[in-house]
Symmetry: C2
């Protein structure tokens, strides 16, 4: 594809709004259309995240004038929107992407419902915030962050390259391509499992609080770091768990195996080697980010 002239952002929340803000800040010369609630449109227009706003019900009209459609809803809503798009008249050469945190279910839906003249390339920017909504939009949200692309058709390298170039230019992110199932296995390990571990630790410490009141008052910075993500709202995680539990469940088992190994080492005063291995992996990761 050539650089898109009209971009439509479907749902202008934190991520959609930040994409609009980044496009504006980076000097994107085309038109940015936002589909959102009335309140969302007003906020997005007043913050100059989009050039024009429409209600969601205008999708079938708006999409005809769109070169690049970016679906920025929660995962299950993205899948519903793909189904609805499949029943619409879509322009030749339309490129559709999304920002959902799991990719297999979304790319499967795209393969199933979208017509062949449309190119679908799944996307997952590894950036976020504890805040939400267009008011939290940040033109630098993606700056330096990894943005994963998971094309529905791996052979269409030209469309992937074009979208990748476009995102790097305007969002200043780094792009990397994975197939959808591989992406989901990876984020199960580095994002979804950590979330479950953090919540489980809060519940475990709270059990001790019930038997020893005051336990939680001794929680210092280490505990707060480990459990920070347990403060996230469940809504967005519902869709992640619903679409990736097949990858997460066996990983919980792998993790429990490691914990049992560490427990045995602990009882034998022999944790040193595995702890230093973990520390050295952490150190090698400093150079990655």
């Amino acid at each position: 594809m050539q650089e898109p002239k009209t971009i439509t952002i479907y749902s202008v929340g934190l991520i959609g709004g930040s994409i609009g803000a980044a496009l504006k800040a980076s000097g994107f010369g085309g038109r940015i259309v936002g589909l959102s609630s009335e309140k969302g449109i007003n906020t997005a227009l007043s913050r100059n995240l989009i050039d024009e706003g429409h209600p969601y019900s205008d999708l079938s009209t708006v999409v005809k004038q769109t070169d690049l459609l970016i679906l920025c809803s929660p995962i299950l809503t993205i899948i519903d929107t793909i189904k609805i798009l499949g029943e619409m008249e879509l322009p030749n050469g339309l490129v559709i992407t999304d920002i959902g945190s799991t990719k297999r279910a979304i790319v499967d839906a795209a393969n199933k419902y979208l017509p062949p003249q449309v190119k679908f390339i799944g996307g997952h920017p590894m950036a976020g915030s504890e805040r939400s909504g267009p008011d939290a939009s940040d033109p630098n949200l993606f700056s330096g962050a990894v943005y994963v692309l998971t094309p529905a058709d791996k052979n269409d390298t030209s469309a992937i390259d074009s979208l990748s170039t476009f995102l790097r230019k305007y969002l200043r992110c780094r792009t990397v391509a994975f197939d959808p199932a591989t992406h989901d296995s990876v984020v199960a390990a580095v994002s979804h499992l950590p979330h479950i571990l953090a919540s489980a630790l809060v519940l475990c410490a709270h059990e001790r609080e019930k038997s020893i009141p005051g336990t939680l008052t001794l929680a210092a910075s280490g505990f707060r770091d480990v459990t920070r993500i347990a403060s996230a709202k469940y809504d967005i995680w519902h869709d992640i768990f619903a679409t990736n539990k097949e990858a997460i469940i066996p990983l919980i088992d792998s993790y429990i195996n490691i914990l049992n190994e560490l427990k045995t080492l602990l009882s034998n005063d022999a944790l040193k080697e595995r702890f230093e291995e973990a520390r050295s992996i952490k150190e090698s990761m400093q150079t990655l980010t």
Copy 2:
């Protein structure tokens, strides 16, 4: 005890040095003696953390002129020092405290080795830094932090109150008293278990990296938060694990039980209630710190 006139800090590292710095900053009018390596003494003197410095071998002389002795070494060294102190001539009314991260083994040693004319009150300031050594000293390290006291003799409330008042006045910390075994159960849940969980997550993600290269490049802020404490040096943790594994091991089992429960809920799309419980516990903790 009256407010001590001469305080001796045994080992002037991050914690010992910060105690000296805090005493100076808060206008402590007495004398601060530091026992350390030659290099440690020079640093501590040049940074005005202590008034005079001695090698560790001067302990038996220095302690005779001391009202409050603060043992700031790693846990097993503190226990060794308590044994050595038990063989020395100690002044009547001497108060000894320490800063070790576990308390049962230390207070047991104090009860076993120290003579009755000496009062031992275990201590654990819930404050630290990734840095170490007197160069990292910070007069505000304890400011607002919880400082746990675990007296060897619970009935000696006057000595406990005096030390507590002294610490709050000069370190500007909050003090709380626990018996040693209770303290160790609590920190097993809020400090030692989190450390093991963080290291296990690094090892688990690294296993996935071996099968899917690039896994760790997708680790974003959530992963970094959860695994931050896995960067700590093992040295200090060796002593913690050696003296508290009895409390940590059953807690690993409790944690695995919770993980298995969450796994079952995940497979039934029923995580919501437990996740919202964890979130609400986290929210209630905001008001604690």
